[in-house]
């Protein structure tokens, strides 16, 4: 079996939302899309970015879970919370460094991207990567990604003093070995601008 990995390249996203639609087709969370698609600054830019679960080696969401409801499979995939255990506290939602878990208020349970476990556990590609037309989400071999991309895949992140290793790789410029996260504030955030009740961009963003 050829080992394939997940690679995310935010800069390639064109905001088509194919991933959002395809995600809801996954059997493990049928009808509910788990992927996030962010518009970075809708007033000034068309930039968008997808966010899937990065499947941390030592998931912080699982560490802060009071019900011990978040488990990782032997192949390194962090699953949605266990239904019998999850008590809906949202600690995982608030602690995930990548902002991934979603609290489903109607069923009082946290759900998240599980890398389409019904598919990847039988050597199929995740839904989002299957439909992504721009290669922002790619599920392929390490050799193939290195052959076809300018950047290099990295799976080490630093949030403050916290270093996180993930199963999913992000594409970064060559010679970058780790993604150090600082807080990047761009000029025109919702809070910085005067409120405008007819601001369609802001309405869409919220």
């Amino acid at each position: 079996m050829i080992k394939e990995d997940f690679f995310i390249d935010y800069s390639r996203c064109i905001g088509c939302e194919a991933c959002v639609q395809a995600c809801g087709e996954c059997d493990t969370h049928r009808g509910v899309s788990m992927i996030h698609l962010e518009t970075i600054e809708r007033r000034d830019s068309v930039q968008t970015a997808p966010q899937i679960c990065m499947h941390c080696e030592d998931p912080i969401c699982a560490q802060v879970c009071p019900a011990d409801a978040i488990k990782k499979t032997p192949d390194g995939v962090v699953q949605s919370s266990l239904k019998p255990r999850c008590i809906g506290c949202s600690n995982c939602v608030m602690s995930c460094p990548f902002g991934v878990p979603k609290y489903q208020i109607d069923i009082d349970q946290m759900m998240k991207c599980d890398m389409c476990y019904d598919r990847t556990s039988v050597d199929k590609k995740p839904m989002c990567a299957t439909v992504c037309p721009s290669g922002a989400l790619t599920f392929t071999t390490m050799q193939e990604i290195q052959r076809t991309r300018q950047g290099v895949p990295v799976n080490e992140w630093k949030f403050g003093a916290e270093v996180v290793h993930t199963k999913v790789y992000v594409m970064v410029p060559p010679e970058v070995a780790r993604v150090d996260i600082g807080l990047i504030q761009i000029q025109t955030t919702a809070a910085a601008l005067p409120s405008d009740p007819y601001d369609v961009a802001l309405m869409l963003e919220n």
Binding site: D27, Q109, L183, A191
Partner: protein
């Protein structure tokens, strides 16, 4: 620092001591629960006068289960997030002035979450059907068998008439009924009714697990199928006893009763360690409900990036405490804390960080 490095930096002997003290504490709670139950059996059965020796194996397995449950519950409460929620839940619930309102709300969510299990119904009707029958079938069976095997309840034929059956609770007569009556039929067959309820749940659950592709992808034999197999075994062997009595003139009754006892004992031993532990863990959901209500009514946390409200200030402050206890270091270099960034801004920030790295490379290229 990742977890491995962190562990290198922590005094390992201190960690081992903490772990050891957790185990000692949990063992103490386990022993206390066992002793308390032995005391309860002794007192409740009036010095074992009402204790039925034929049921001693059930009582013994229950004592083991009591030890295991108290042990595991104590270990579970030692986890920093669990411990904090446990204290906060009680603190909020018992706040003077709010106690009456909280008791009323507790009754409301108890009915919704426990009695009717509405949150499971919203997940799927089939899941709800399976769970509701399993839960109430097991609770009905437990409500009968535990007090019976402890000698807390027992039945006797009235001295005045063979046609009258008398019920005793802790040795105190609590009622009587004719042997040939609807009440008698219900009382004598309550465990059969419970078994049928559980079997409806087991078959519905197996049907769902055999057809739902999502469930099939993530289910595990030990966690998801084993409990159903155990419940099935208990119900079927229990119903065999009724069949043996009423349909086969007691054929193989002694063997069947031993077989039934074995299935129950194995399940009781499994109780603290497998999926059934959620029965004891799940009430934490009620505490979280109070926590969330208090959080909504209190101060809200504002994201340091976008300025919008995204969670309760209480939860964010508590999470920082939990993270400190878990050696998760989210303090940023500029003195701010990553916990104060809302999840939406975290996601945006990741894409912008990648951008900035490519831009830095571009600037470097232009400069050289």
């Amino acid at each position: 620092m990742n977890r491995g490095n962190r562990m290198n930096n922590i005094d390992k002997r201190e960690f081992a001591r903490a772990r050891g003290s957790d185990t000692a504490r949990a063992t103490t709670w386990g022993l206390l629960a066992t002793v308390a139950l032995i005391g309860g059996i002794f007192i409740g059965s009036r010095g074992l006068r009402d204790f039925d020796p034929a049921l001693v194996s059930y009582a013994g397995a229950t004592l083991f289960a009591a030890f295991g449950l108290a042990y595991r519950f104590s270990m579970w409460l030692r986890r920093p997030p669990t411990r904090l929620y446990w204290y906060r839940g009680w603190q909020i619930f018992t706040t003077p002035g709010n106690l009456g309102k909280n008791v009323a709300h507790l009754f409301q969510i108890f009915m919704s979450n426990f009695v009717f299990q509405r949150f499971i119904e919203r997940r799927s009707h089939m899941r709800w059907t399976a769970h509701w029958f399993l839960a109430w079938g097991c609770l009905l069976a437990g409500a009968i068998t535990f007090p019976l095997s402890f000698g807390w309840i027992h039945f006797e034929t009235a001295k005045s008439s063979q046609e009258i059956y008398r019920a005793f609770l802790f040795g105190i007569p609590v009622g009587h009924f004719p042997v040939h009556s609807v009440i008698a039929e219900l009382a004598f067959n309550a465990l059969d009714i419970a078994a049928v309820m559980v079997l409806i749940g087991v078959f519905t659950a197996l049907w769902r697990r055999g057809r739902d592709h999502g469930a099939m992808a993530v289910q595990q034999f030990a966690d998801d199928l084993m409990p159903l197999i155990l419940l099935f075994a208990i119900c079927v062997t229990g119903l065999f006893l009724t069949a043996s009595t009423h349909l086969m003139h007691g054929l193989h009754y002694a063997f069947l009763s031993q077989l039934h006892a074995i299935t129950v004992i194995v399940t009781l031993v499994y109780l603290p360690f497998g999926k059934f532990f959620h029965i004891f863990q799940r009430p934490a959901q009620l505490g979280v409900d109070f926590y969330k209500r208090a959080g909504k009514e209190g101060e809200q946390a504002l994201c340091i990036r976008c300025g919008s409200e995204y969670a309760s200030r209480m939860q964010m402050d508590d999470l920082k405490q939990v993270q400190a206890a878990l050696h998760i270091h989210y303090q940023l270099e500029n003195g701010s804390h990553y916990q104060d960034v809302c999840p939406k801004c975290r996601r945006k920030n990741l894409a912008l960080t990648q951008d900035s790295m490519w831009k830095a490379l571009q600037v470097k290229g232009e400069g050289s």
